[in-house]
């Protein structure tokens, strides 16, 4: 209030036309209170819990960095971080490459492109629970269509979700299928912002379509690519639902992830303090990725936050 009054006095010309709308506070009040109570406060409370031994039944006691030290030595959490990285690495690049390929293919004025776009995108509007049920059926060891197909070709059946060497791959493949539509849509919007004059000029110079793709399309899509990379990183670090439904972290902890560990420690063992420390690690990772986005992403003509 005070600062506004003084600034009003010092710069009367610029402020005179626009009076202060006290109603502004009324307008933001409901939304801001909900945001403040359910995002901002929990973040601070979570930070506090991460320094306590809170276990849901007794009053929390301050334990300093004990939870973080324990986290550092926790082999299971280490496995979860490793698995999360593996999931991200093996799902992000295929889904970006395939998404780009489909976007280029479906950008032309071909017949049936709307049907194709809708088909590619439908998995993305379907819930992860439903998608997991469908793939559970596809991966079923005895009756599932994958093993039936292997049998037809005379190959041995694979215990997709029950074999430690294939479980993560099975989850990754499902994740790629679900996310291709997302990368395709963002790439399509990126493609549409490339001026056609560039392609016309290249065509005049006799550049082939493939040459044009590598010399114009890929460089012009750099901001889009970077943006998708960041969003995909954040999304794949949150992987939980499919793990909880398909494998419950098994076999032999091969598919447990960071969020899955937070869920198990927090809501099954009720080690709320310890699980909060894990949540803080997750928050810092996503924060770093987002800040990287702001720093590097703004160098190009970004399509994201504008």
């Amino acid at each position: 209030m005070n600062s506004a009054a003084t600034s009003k006095a010092t710069t009367p010309k610029s402020r005179r036309r626009v009076p202060i709308d006290k109603a502004g506070y009324l307008f933001i009040a409901p939304g801001y209170l909900v945001y403040f109570a359910f995002i901002f406060i929990p973040l601070l409370v979570g930070l506090y819990y991460s320094f306590t031994n809170y276990n849901f039944y007794s009053t929390p006691a301050f334990v300093g960095f004990d939870n973080y030290v324990r986290l550092f030595h926790d082999k299971l959490f280490g496995t979860a971080v490793y698995n999360t990285f593996i999931y991200s690495l093996f799902s992000i690049f295929p889904q970006m490459a395939l998404g780009l390929l489909l976007a280029v293919l479906l950008n032309g004025k071909l017949r049936g492109r709307l049907f194709a776009r809708v088909s590619v995108y439908v998995p993305n509007v379907t819930s992860m629970v439903a998608v997991s049920m469908i793939w559970l059926w596809i991966y079923d060891p005895s009756l599932g269509i994958l093993n039936r197909a292997l049998k037809t070709f005379g190959l041995d059946p694979v215990q997709w979700l029950y074999d430690p060497s294939t479980a993560m791959a099975a989850i990754v493949i499902m994740g790629i299928w679900k996310s291709i539509g997302y990368t395709m849509i963002v790439y399509l919007s990126g493609l549409q912002s490339i001026p056609t004059s560039l392609y016309e000029a290249a065509h005049m110079d006799g550049a082939t379509k493939i040459r044009q793709f590598f010399a114009i399309t890929i460089p012009m899509l750099k901001p889009t690519t970077f943006f998708i990379l960041v969003m995909s990183c954040i999304n794949s670090f949150m992987v939980f639902e499919q793990v909880n439904i398909l494998t419950n972290g098994g076999p032999l902890n091969k598919t447990t992830t960071i969020v899955h560990q937070i869920y198990l420690r927090g809501f099954q063992d009720f080690q709320m303090g310890y699980a909060s420390a894990m949540a803080m690690v997750l928050f810092v990772i996503t924060l770093l990725i987002t800040l990287l986005n702001f720093r590097l992403g703004n160098k190009g003509n970004d399509i994201d936050v504008d």
Binding site: A23, Y35, P42, L102, G112, M272, D304
Partner: protein, 287 residues
């Protein structure tokens, strides 16, 4: 040499193959939901069902209280969408068009929330809902009862406003011409009338985008209902489906029938309002 027409045919064929590959899991879901268990277990595989057993759907819906699950999901989704449209657009309007002390600081603090994933705050948020004073048998210290656990309030409250929605609306309202406010002021309209009678009617596209985004997120959510509810009475369809799976075990036709029904509302909404689905992703990048 391949003619121009020839390449078009090739590309169209490739597109069709891709579309069918992507749709294949859904096709498998639907055909399985219509088969008998005998046909599913038979050593010879058939893709198209020999007998179309539509009864599977009614049998599946009678296993568990699916009417309750669906009405829970509809109610939770509807309340979340309506409140988030009102609260986010009001806040977005104020941050974009009104001038009041502390506005930019407040908006910056809202932006911080974009970087906070729900998974990182689920434990404290859950505890706050459980220890909400004076509700669900709690005393003023939030002890003694269950707070908002197993209630619609608990499922809805944390999601009726947020950084993303406020940000989305603010960006949209920033694009309106200043002349609009000035004309309204000359006519003597107060801020409330300006918002409800001028701005809101002009912001249907952004409200549709936000509504679609919220509908998808709420209908498809699994983690929050999993944490907040533990009674059959409060189960949403996503939770119902996971419980159904453990109860039906290997009755794939019933499981696929239930899955089809859970997927159907959103797929229909998507087909009807594709534009807004795409808009939401392109403008924000959020899923």
């Amino acid at each position: 040499m391949i003619t121009r027409k020839g390449t078009t045919v090739i590309f169209s064929t490739v597109m069709l193959i891709i579309a069918l590959l992507m749709l294949f899991p859904f096709l498998l879901m639907v055909v399985t939901s219509l088969k008998t268990m005998g046909e599913i277990q038979s050593p010879t595989f058939t893709f198209i069902p020999k007998h179309w057993l539509f009864d599977n759907y009614s049998v599946a819906m009678r296993r568990g209280d699916w009417v309750q699950y669906f009405s829970n999901s509809f109610i939770v989704t509807a309340i979340t969408v309506v409140f988030s449209l009102v609260f986010n657009s009001m806040a977005g309007f104020a941050f974009a068009r009104l001038r009041f002390p502390g506005r930019d600081v407040l908006f910056f603090s809202v932006l911080i929330g974009i970087m906070v994933p729900a998974q990182a705050t689920m434990i404290p948020t859950f505890l706050m809902m459980k220890m909400f004073p004076f509700f669900g048998g709690n005393d003023w210290q939030g002890q003694g009862g269950f707070g908002f656990i197993n209630s619609y309030t608990g499922l809805v409250l944390p999601f009726i406003a947020g950084s993303f929605g406020i940000f989305l609306c603010r960006q949209y309202f920033l694009n309106f011409p200043r002349a609009l406010d000035e004309a309204a002021q000359i006519d003597g309209a107060n801020v409330f009338r300006v918002f409800f009678q001028i701005y809101l009617p002009l912001s249907k596209p952004i409200l549709a985008t936000l509504a679609i985004f919220k509908t998808t997120a709420t209908w498809n959510d699994y983690m929050w209902p999993l944490i907040m509810t533990n009674t059959e009475q409060m189960r949403t369809v996503q939770l119902g489906l996971t419980i159904f799976r453990s109860e039906t075990n290997v009755e794939w036709n019933l499981l696929m029938a239930a899955t089809t029904l859970v997927v159907l509302p959103l797929v229909l909404l998507f087909l009807a309002a594709q534009k807004y689905f795409v808009q939401g992703i392109v403008t924000t990048g959020l899923k």
